[in-house]
Symmetry: C2
Subunit: 231 residues, 2 copies
């Protein structure tokens, strides 16, 4: 794929230790794919034939329960690798990553993983750290869901979002991709109704500013206070 932007890849911590030659060898095996909004990179349950790196855009990873309920497991940000189920000894994908914004994805066949890791131990170590961090996040979320009430959970979720995907805008921080009340509900284990009510209350207090699939945080510190429970 001639069109792959090397500088984008080069900037990632995951690849910074690779030589130019090694990088080229990796990119030679990759394909580039554009994912329009609403489209899935792959589907939950599908056989894992590739693993991926998000170059640009934003993906929501969802899981569906047997009875049709949906939750958002995590958000994939540019620079994250995802869908490397094979490395974890699964042969199907555990979730569905859907583009929340127009996205650009680098794809490798799963067989390449072994080669990569052999040729460059950094990659394995790095991947392990990545998974380790995700595990941490997951445990944090479990703890929140077990001990905190809805408003605090939503506060935490929003803070995490502006941390991972915030862009300064005027007198606040904007979440830099389209996100609905429904999405936030699926991230915090509640309903869109409750999220809507909470955001309305926050707006009245001047903490945030809402909008259709938009959210601007005006007072991050205030939100943080709320999240820590000193309401």
């Amino acid at each position: 794929m001639a069109a792959i932007d090397r500088s984008l890849v080069r900037a990632l911590p995951m690849f910074e230790k690779l030589s130019d030659a090694e990088l080229d060898r990796m990119l030679a095996r990759a394909t580039l794919r554009r994912v329009p909004i609403g489209e899935a990179v792959f589907e939950q349950g599908q056989k894992a034939t590739q693993f991926f790196l998000l170059l640009h855009g934003r993906l929501k990873v969802t899981q569906v329960t047997s009875d049709g309920q949906q939750i958002i497991v995590r958000v994939v940000h540019p620079g994250d690798i995802f869908g490397f189920a094979k490395a974890l000894m699964r042969d199907d994908y555990p979730g569905t990553p859907t583009a929340a914004a127009e996205s650009l994805v680098l794809c490798w066949p799963t067989e390449v993983w072994g080669l990569f890791v052999e040729q460059n131990p950094h990659l394995a170590v790095n991947a392990m750290q990545t998974i380790g961090q995700r595990l941490q996040e997951a445990h944090t979320r479990i703890r929140e869901m077990a001990t905190e009430e809805v408003e605090r959970r939503v506060a935490h979720a929003v803070l995490r979002l502006i941390d991972q995907a915030g862009r300064k805008e005027g007198e606040g921080i904007r979440i830099d991709f389209p996100i609905s009340r429904q999405d936030i509900a699926e991230m915090t284990g509640t309903t869109l109704h409750t999220v809507s009510r909470i955001l309305s209350a926050w707006e009245a207090k001047g903490l945030v500013e809402g909008g259709r699939q938009k959210l601007l945080v005006r007072d991050a510190a205030g939100l943080a206070t709320l999240a820590e429970g000193e309401s």
Copy 2:
């Protein structure tokens, strides 16, 4: 440590590919530690100086929130490695593993991890799979907490326990270590009162048989039905 039982270690999938010489070299760096009931192997927040392998017994890993609430993150079973925070780029331990039953633990200094991995790539791959599985479990648990009501969550937790630590006993399966209602509550994000009520109801239906820090599942299939929501 002359007392280390090689056959115990040898049986673990984690080490089965190692040669006797390699195994000996690893064991030479290890120390053995007995952990009585109620004692912690290390404390949450402590600097990570060692990583561990549980040879025998059972550990509950807990996390405490800033406001003093406690949850059980997972249960460590014989053969599991734990406390390898350093490998995940943390320098403190994220939780506290406490002995639920008299336990036997193999301890290595963190510096050894790098050596192990270099000398034997299997170990790294294996460790990654382990973390991958834990991540999966964590996501499953998040999904359950977000979408299921308490009774089903408790059912799932109990099924997981008899799967990981079940021992046949007469006409049922016993959870093979002391576990209180409080523990189950901390695993499912509810209160010991609610757990007690649920177990009482199940006992009335003949699904389980309770007792002080004891639980015997009489009808696993029935529980599974309940867990899947076809109540």
